[in-house]
């Protein structure tokens, strides 16, 4: 049967991948995607701990995951909106050119 550690490892790997994407890609949208991946990894952890935890019937981890999904959705909406407006303004989504705080 699958041990908890396996899920945790997958989550860690996914998290690292998302982080790598967020750190290495140039495009703002992809950075956002990377962050989404990290959040998902966290969700996987939560669910896994809920499943293997002493009191699954309390639904704590599950609730945590559901709420974080909702929050992630909101975050994505706002983030992409920002990216779009920045694009309108600076004609780019390249983070290397997006380093001025005024303009």
């Amino acid at each position: 049967m699958t041990p908890l550690a396996a899920y945790l490892m997958v989550a860690a790997l996914l998290f690292a991948i998302g982080l790598a994407g967020a750190l290495t890609r140039r495009n703002a949208i992809l950075v956002l995607i990377g962050i989404e991946l990290m959040l998902n990894a966290a969700n996987l952890n939560l669910i896994a701990f809920w499943r293997y935890g002493p009191h699954p019937e309390l639904l704590t981890g599950m609730m945590f995951a559901i709420f974080s999904i909702a929050v992630a959705a909101a975050e994505a909406a706002v983030g992409l909106g920002l990216v779009i407006s920045i694009y309108r303004h600076a004609r780019t989504t390249d983070l290397e050119q997006m380093n001025r705080m005024k303009g």
Binding site: L4, I17, T24, M62, A70, L80, I84
Partner: protein
């Protein structure tokens, strides 16, 4: 260690890697959907039916679409296949990679350290959607309300931010 788990994990990780590595942004977006799908299936394999379906509904049904729209609206899709990697990855990609690797190493080490201490699988908890609903409007009603507020604010904010600003000066 069931083969199903290996399969799902493989799908998920592959999707994630593809997301990070592909050049064309639309491909990235589709790859990330694959990762999301894999995660949803992992949830299902963890008996979290509700969470899994919500994951599919929200991420594949909404977030992925949102990303795709953003990509098309910002005209970032047209990356010629023959473009050098430098145009996709930032100059300091190496440090980023190293840091990510370090994070993974740290986390993995932490997991392995505590592998023995982790609890073993218990009997499948009998949670129906009804229980989740009751919990949502019972024990977790305050977070629910707050999330509702947050979502409203986010919707309005996103609309305002992405709205075409008038040239009325």
């Amino acid at each position: 260690m069931s083969p199903i788990f290996y399969l799902l994990a493989a799908i998920t990780v592959a999707g994630g890697l593809a997301t990070v590595l592909l050049k064309n942004l639309v491909h990235c977006a589709l790859a990330v959907t694959i990762a999301f799908l894999g995660l949803a299936l992992l949830f299902l394999s963890l008996d979290a039916q509700f969470a899994g379906f919500v994951q599919i509904l929200v991420y594949i049904g909404a977030v992925a679409i949102l990303v795709v729209f953003a990509i098309l609206l910002t005209r970032e899709a047209e990356v010629p296949e023959s473009s050098p990697a430098g145009r996709v990855f930032s100059k300091t990609w190496l440090t980023g990679l190293v840091i990510a690797a370090a994070v993974f190493a740290m986390l993995g080490w932490a997991v392995l350290q505590s592998a023995q201490a982790l609890p073993n699988e218990t009997a499948m908890p009998a949670v129906s959607v009804r229980d989740i609903g009751n919990a949502l409007v019972g024990r977790y009603v305050l977070p629910l309300e707050i999330v509702a507020l947050l979502l409203t604010a986010a919707t309005i904010g996103a609309v305002i931010v992405a709205m075409h600003e008038k040239e009325a000066k």
